[in-house]
Amino acid sequence: MSKKNSFSPEIEAFSKYHNVRPGRVKPVKTPGGETVLMIKPDLGKEIMRHKDVYLLLLIPFVFYIVFKYVPIFNAQIAFKNFRARDGVLGSAWVGFQNFQDFFNSFYFWELLRNTLFYSFGKIIISLPVSIILSIAIYECTHYALRKTVQTLAYLPHFLSWVIMYGVLFALLSPSSGILNDVIKLFGGTPVDFLSSIKAFPWVVLLSDAWKEMGWSAIIFIAALMNIDVSLFEAAMVEGANSWQRVRYITLPSIKPVIVTVLLLKIGTILDAGFNQMYMLYSPQVYSVADIIDTWVYRQGLLNFQFGLATAVGLFKGVIGMALVLVSNRLVSKFSEGSSLF
């Protein structure tokens, strides 16, 4: 049975007058409570009018379709005993067995603890460091120094963790590392930073902060650039010192960006950094280094349990989405205008 659209006489008359289909006419309420009729924009014409911009949008759009949305269909593997030869649809359903295997694994709670520790730790350390760096760069008046610091800060981001491991090993080796040379110089005992369960978490957190602080600072520097300079001029006229300008102008001005970045990071809270951990960890520090992703790599990928790996991925996604929604609600409740959506 087909549903036939019926329109009010006002809409029929309005569409006839403007020579558009009645379906494109939309009644809209004004702030004063009055209802007016508006013509909905024609998407095709809009796209043609701004085709350059939409062309730019095409690349990320295709990326998201191919790599983010299409694989959603395959998420059903999480509930199946996946056999590649049977395909996604042909594999047998196993209900929540893969999730149970994960939750009942011997190290589940330790994996969860380590993952959350590194995720929150990286936020707690990296975020402030990035903000401080961005403010320092923004406040620096010496052009050459600012550019040099910026470049040096960005550089580690482009190094893979394989290279970073080599750098860290040269720094931290108990026999020949620069840091241990300094410790020995002051009469201390060398520390095997990469094998000690006490030192290892700090190596992970600080090396991540070092590697990513420059890159993360970019978005804050962009936000700082948008601050109205007259605010700073006025503050200086009023006698505000540098710290007061940062505290009362800079930080409040970039607060929405900080909140956005924080919310985005919370969305991936169960991604504690596979590449970094895979390169740095070893059996003697498994107790403080094994995270969900490294476990999935060993149990799911190396043992060909793709259903299990997918189940964990789905679990992480659901937890991440829930955290983002809750955090966003809290932000919008306590700081209006700062929430993500």
């Binding site: 379709i65 949305y69 694989p71 996946f82 030869r85 395909g87 026999s175 498994y286 060909f304």
Partner: protein, 523 residues
């Protein structure tokens, strides 16, 4: 707008459906030009060199004389990366027609129905089968009564040895250690008595890195095999009838751990041993950091590998020694298995009717023409034959099979080599070192290493592997004992064994015992 969104959603669903099920299409076997396309994923012989160039004459021969359009793709050099690549392709049901694969991964692929049994194909390759495949190699690929791949001889067995710095011994007036007590004394002297005479406290007795797996080596791995061998517990599995099972259950394993822990406490182990990667370890001995190690013959004595050490220490000298004897009289360089490189054929390739052509290609590789072409390149261009019929580089310069230009043409040599004397003589020529003028030969070193006692652990590569939790518990706890994070006492050891059993270690052990008995691996 709703219509647009609806269309998009339907398109997305359609895309998903296609991607989810369209990973592998059974290709038509015969191309329009009459050739059959064969996709081969191979392990490169020289991992640091590039892939085989497009102008390789082998492509032309296969196309013109055998109707094969060969497409080559090189696998990552690291074995675990190879496994990941193969398994990722398998997950998408897009395995190539023929590919190199490790035994543990092969087992999983068989379970998934992704590789084809090849029992009937040996007869199609009479020359190659006689040269490369025997009962042991077929057993390596046999699962549930069927052979699921062609296992060619891999790296030479027993190709490692215990090496000691003879110049350090001479400097300190010490003899070659013969038992564990003497070994400890020598290691202490190497650590604390400035064996290189540079006035600095920068040397250690023993150098190692963690090189373990879940089949042959086990934690703490092959670099410590001579120590474990002195206690009769080298190798993950023991195949002796009276002690069949995981070596970790033997009381002597605890004693071996105590000895290694003592090495750490005495400070005679290079403190980086737990964090060294293979390349770090190899760089370290070339820098004169330690005086005793277990190393592979070519990694030690091949010209390019020995050159940095020779340049750094012209007066330095390593010698291969007998493994030290332990308290019960045991001594062994380490456990060894027969090494194979397995090439499996995907079920899709068989379904597409390519199996016979694949066999034809492999048989050609083992013909005189294919053998020399894949192994050394073109005669007169990449090699010349010496008076003994051994391919040598002559004065072919960089185009020679070992030169930078020529070596890329030999990337498939591991598919044809079977460790014949000719191959070894060609691969490990005698040479004179650039700085010190020593006469060296990795082949002589190999023969010396092979003459020492090794513990047979034939079949280790086929043994069942544990799940990730059991393996982690095993490795982590042993690492904690060795690094001192966990006190190494008999009570703590028993507690470890109890917990290991509880989480699946006992089941793994029983599974291994059953497999070894069922497959005739018990000695």
């Amino acid at each position: 707008m709703k219509k647009v969104l609806s269309v998009l959603l339907v398109a997305l669903m359609a895309c998903s459906f296609v991607f989810a099920n369209g990973g592998s299409e059974t290709a038509t076997a015969v191309n329009a030009d009459g050739t059959v396309t064969i996709n081969l994923w191979y392990g490169a012989a020289i991992t640091e060199a590039g892939p085989i160039p497009d102008d390789w004459i082998g492509y032309q021969i296969l196309r013109d004389e055998h109707g094969i359009d060969l497409h080559l793709s090189v696998l990552p050099s690291n074995e675990s990366d190879q496994d990941v690549r193969i398994q990722a392709a398998a997950a998408g049901n897009s395995l190539p027609d023929i590919f190199m694969v490790s035994r543990p991964v092969l087992t999983r692929l068989v379970d998934q129905g992704l590789v084809a049994p090849v029992d009937d194909y040996y007869a199609l390759m009479p020359n190659r089968t006689a040269q490369q495949y025997d009962a042991d190699s077929i057993a390596m690929t046999t699962i549930d009564g069927h052979s699921y791949g062609f296992a060619s001889p891999g790296s030479v067995a027993k190709n490692e040895g215990l090496l000691i710095r003879k110049d350090w011994l001479d400097n300190l007036g010490l003899e070659v250690p013969t038992n564990l007590d003497e070994l400890m004394e020598v290691m202490k002297a190497f650590t604390y008595d400035d064996p290189d005479g540079n006035g600095q406290n920068d040397t250690w007795g023993y150098g190692a890195y963690i090189e373990s797996d879940a089949t042959l080596k086990g934690y703490p791995g092959a670099r410590l095999f001579p120590i474990l061998g002195a206690f009769g517990v080298d190798g993950l599995w023991c195949f002796e009838e009276e002690n069949l099972g995981l070596n970790v259950y033997k009381p002597a394993f605890y004693d071996a751990m105590v000895y290694i822990r003592q090495m750490c406490e005495e400070g005679v182990m290079d403190p980086n041993w737990l964090t060294y990667k293979k390349d770090d370890f190899r760089a370290a001995w070339k820098q004169g950091r330690f005086g005793i190690m277990k190393e592979q013959n070519a990694a030690y004595a091949a010209e390019a590998n020995y050159a940095p050490f020779d340049a750094n220490f012209p007066d330095g000298e390593w010698i291969v020694i007998d493994p030290p004897t332990g308290p019960e009289g045991y001594a062994s360089v380490g456990a060894y298995d027969q090494n194979y490189r397995i090439y499996a054929i995907s079920q899709d390739a068989v379904d597409a009717g390519k199996a016979e052509k694949i066999c034809e290609m492999l048989e050609w590789m083992s013909s005189d023409e294919g053998y020399y072409l894949c192994g050394w390149g073109v005669e007169g261009v990449n090699y010349v034959l010496d008076d003994n019929g051994v391919p040598v580089t002559g004065d072919l310069g960089e185009n020679a099979f070992s030169g930078t230009e020529g070596q890329v043409y030999t990337q498939l040599r591991n598919m044809v080599f079977y460790n014949s004397d000719t191959e070894l003589a060609s691969r490990y020529p005698t040479y004179t070192t650039a700085t010190s003028g020593k006469t060296m030969s990795a082949l002589t070193t190999l023969r010396e290493m092979q003459s020492k006692y090794w513990t047979p652990a034939i079949g280790s590569g086929q043994m069942p592997t544990p799940n990730a939790d059991v393996q982690r518990y095993y490795e982590q706890t042993l690492a904690e004992f060795l690094s001192g994070q966990r006190a190494l006492t008999p009570e703590a050891w028993q507690s470890f064994i109890d917990q290991f059993n509880a989480i699946g270690g006992a089941a793994w052990n029983q599974q291994g015992i059953d497999y070894a008995k069922a497959n005739g691996l018990v000695r």
